[in-house]
Symmetry: C2
Subunit: 148 residues, 2 copies
Amino acid sequence: MEHSPTVGTRPFRELCADHGLTATHQRQVLYEVMQTMPGHPSPEEVYARVKKRIPAISLATVYKNIHLFVERGVLKEVSMHHGSLRVELNNHLHHHMVCSHCKAITDIEEKDLGVLPALQRLPGGFQAERYAIDVIGICAACQKTKRS
Amino acid sequence: MEHSPTVGTRPFRELCADHGLTATHQRQVLYEVMQTMPGHPSPEEVYARVKKRIPAISLATVYKNIHLFVERGVLKEVSMHHGSLRVELNNHLHHHMVCSHCKAITDIEEKDLGVLPALQRLPGGFQAERYAIDVIGICAACQKTKRS
DNA sequence: TTGACGAATAAGAATAATTATCGTTTACTA
DNA sequence: TAGTAAACGATAATTATTCTTATTCGTCAA
């Protein structure tokens, strides 16, 4: 099975350099796997997928690198109404709709939600970097199965 | 040590009745303790405080009643960029500023943030009930202790 | 009022999720 | 290519959450 080792590799190395991370094989696979999981995967789910490509990888490594990615801005932590850590790639701007009944999280585009006014001059000298909006309510499926 | 058992008791019983909860001693203490913790306490922190008044209480009881309070709308779950559940009294409308460095959460009034346009007609037939905004950034204290 | 019944509760046990530790291996720099 | 710091993997420890069960609470009929 022929493949070019440089395809996809260079962008990842650049990404690591940009974020001050050393580029390890495990991290690259972790990152690639998460690119194929567009939702809000749990660490266990990511681990299961990565294990197919690196059977010897440890769950602790997955946790450590997820936290590291979050810390360095490669991933974004999704505010949780789950029982476990959830993340997503820090790609395009969107927010979340959280069903208060079944806890499902779905994405909503910023344009479908409207934009907040400027984030300058917040109380206490807080320096804003971004904002995350959770719209909380009842999803369509739960509306059907629920009386009143 | 004399104290009037009705002071503070009746409002709590009313609150329970309003939310369809039976008024138990543990719940009352839990509620009273949380009133003295205006921030966004974790279950462990609440547990530590409650234990001073009810040494026999179990952490599980704290968790269960916190969840129950959230379910019935007495408490509100704070969207977390913490590793653990955080709650607050469900009092007035505000959002949160989360420091991505020290994880502190401070409240921000809705008027200081601006208001979102209407929440009608969301994609997928999602029925919105409320929204919660997290402004993520660096708090004043962390700005000082951080180079570049 | 009192006692039996059913529902709701609290405690502790059990489980799940996450983090810390530590010996070994790997990646970057000179 | 050797030196050094960082990362890895295994597993233990800790923390968070759920489950189970004995007990308690409130109600209602006698």
